[in-house]
Amino acid sequence: MTTLENATIGDDTVRTFTKDGSRPPWMEKPHPVTQALKFIVLAFAVAVVLVPFWSVIATSLADQRTINAAGGGMVMWPGGISLDAYQAVLSGGVVTRAVVISVTITVVGTLLSLAATAGLAYWLSRPRAWGSKPVLMLVLGAVLFSPGLIPSYLVVKEFHLLDSYWSLVLPVLVNAFNVIVMRAFFQELPKELFESAAIDGVGAGTVLLRIVLPLSKAVLAVIGLFYAVAYWNAFFNALLYIQSSEKWPMALVLRTYVVNQTTIGGDQVSSGEALPPQLPLQMAILVIAIVPILLVYPFLQRHFAKGVMIGAVKG
């Protein structure tokens, strides 16, 4: 049983090895040329990402005059800093409420999705499990064929899920791609673990809880992140299924700012009404939509640390 015990503490064992990145003793000092090359590649990648992002943030803080001075486009420096855009977005409480809804849907949805996906992937990953072959084909088929708009709507309607939060979770509960990826990860677990478990007479449930899941923290974190991001950003199902705007998730609320404002034409406006300046508003929306993910991300990232498997198959 040493196997199992070691496995569960795998994550902590790692830390002793790569504690804050210090090089393990067997690794040689990197060659200065390689090092320089790596540095250049990464610095370039980071710059290419950060420059536009800096511009997004600067523009979200800029006032109309700065934007006009930049020819109506984005700016690299906000000039007079103005929080008007953020105020406009957060006033009325609509966004705040939508954030609460989105967080709830994301948390509940991600947990349910992870459970359903892991369950399905586990079933399909075990050799000779009943029915796993045809079901695997079913899952693969779901990657290749996607249903149309109207039939999906009709199914949700038949289940009386229209205007219910469940319509945002159940139709996307399982993503077939994620099932296949997770199954592949489960299959790569060392066979020896399963064999010794079988010899010890441990049941499938215990194997899942004590071997498979603890050793799959990295993939669970990744797939969880995939689901969370998908739930957080999803607007299209809400657009189709949610009728009362009181139940709109954040992504749909934000969409009314970002997408609509770019297309609004003069004849859609009545006399005497006005929109706030568009560009800073859109950029503020972007910032607001990204921040929560940035906040959550580091908590998941620790599971990506290298060597989670260390010691798992010792003994």
């Binding site: 079913l138 109207i150 199914v155 199902n237």
Partner: protein, 331 residues
């Protein structure tokens, strides 16, 4: 998960379930009741996910019968007229727009598979080889950022930076340097699309590889190092073999969707370059199906795409088996 409506209508499943007994092998065969209980438990664990797929994916897929109908939303499935295979006529009527779209799609798929697919892998390897854990995490977080921008914004950003009146060209113009016209040039359209995809998703694509790398037993590296393997050799003999299964899996899945390339991204940028250079299958379906309310055609195109995907996946999987790899599913 859809970020943008899948504009192709319904499609049908062509892969029937193919059940064959798995190999009888390693697992111990004693104590049947235990095994039966395990089997039942496995099914129970998988059932919720399976049911969700069945109900919310496969039941709507039945709606693909509208590929054989002149479907009208106000008439519904039961009252719309049946029109046979008329909606599939684009396949054989020599429609030049369809052929052009198909050609552009295939070219883009090839370019993206060759150029885009390896980038996240390379980036993951470079990231992984960094020493400082904190630096590594920070870099990862930065590189993920673009994934969270919608295409509307990405396209706008590229326009602002590289557009003909963007920051770069304004600078060049003001210093009497030749302009760099990448946006709006039909010749460079595919290059533009490809670089946008890399910009947006290369960082994000590293996640799966990093997760797989994290599973590699450190002792393997140590053992290799002790045997005198240098960094490059450890990469070649330890890291890459450990990632091979995942790479093949992802490639096969990518092949399955090779007739879909960036709908939203492309439709936003068709204006300046024209349809000749920019029309792909998904935009063609949108322009010729959804826009005019021609649901039958879009369902038909979806079916065709799915079937092609099935064939490609089966073929690629066979190929993987020939090379002794697991692929997406086992023999």
């Amino acid at each position: 998960m859809r970020t943008q409506p899948t504009r192709e209508g319904t499609r049908s499943a062509a892969t029937g379930p193919r059940g064959r007994a798995g190999d009888t092998g390693l697992e111990v065969r004693r104590r049947r009741p235990r095994l039966t209980r395990d089997q039942a438990l496995l099914v129970c664990l998988g059932l919720p996910g399976g049911l969700a797929l069945l109900v919310f994916h496969y039941v709507p897929l039945l709606g693909n019968v509208i590929a054989f109908q002149d479907y009208q939303p106000y008439l519904g499935l039961t009252e719309s007229d049946w029109v046979g295979v008329q909606n599939f006529s684009f396949l054989w009527d020599g429609n030049p727009e369809f052929r052009n779209a198909l050609w552009n799609t295939v070219v883009l798929t090839v370019i993206q598979t060759v150029l885009v697919f390896p980038v996240p892998l390379a980036l993951a390897l470079v990231l992984n080889s960094l020493a400082g854990e904190r630096l590594k995490r920070t870099l990862q977080s930065v590189l993920y950022l673009p994934h969270f921008l919608s295409w509307v914004i990405v396209v706008a950003l590229f326009q602002q930076m590289l557009g003909n009146a963007g920051m770069l060209n304004t600078f060049l113009l003001q210093h009497d340097l030749p302009l760099f016209q990448v946006i709006g040039s039909p010749e460079l359209f595919k290059a533009l699309i490809t670089s946008q995809v890399i910009w947006k998703d290369a960082g994000w694509g590293t996640i799966l590889f990093l997760a797989a790398i994290s599973r590699i037993d450190q002792e393997q590296y140590e053992a290799a190092a002790v045997d005198g393997a240098g960094a490059r050799q450890r990469l070649w003999y330890v890291t890459l073999p450990a990632l091979k299964g995942l790479i093949i899996l992802l490639l096969i899945l990518r092949l399955g969707s090779s007739l879909s390339v960036g709908f939203e991204q492309i439709i936003l940028q068709q204006g300046p370059v024209g349809l000749q250079a920019s029309e792909v299958l998904d935009t063609w379906v949108y322009n010729n199906g959804i826009l005019g309310g021609n649901w039958g055609t879009s369902a038909a195109a979806g079916l065709v795409k799915g079937l092609v995907g099935v064939l490609l996946v089966i073929g690629a999987n066979k190929l993987a088996h020939v090379f002794g790899e697991r692929g997406v599913y086992e023999k």
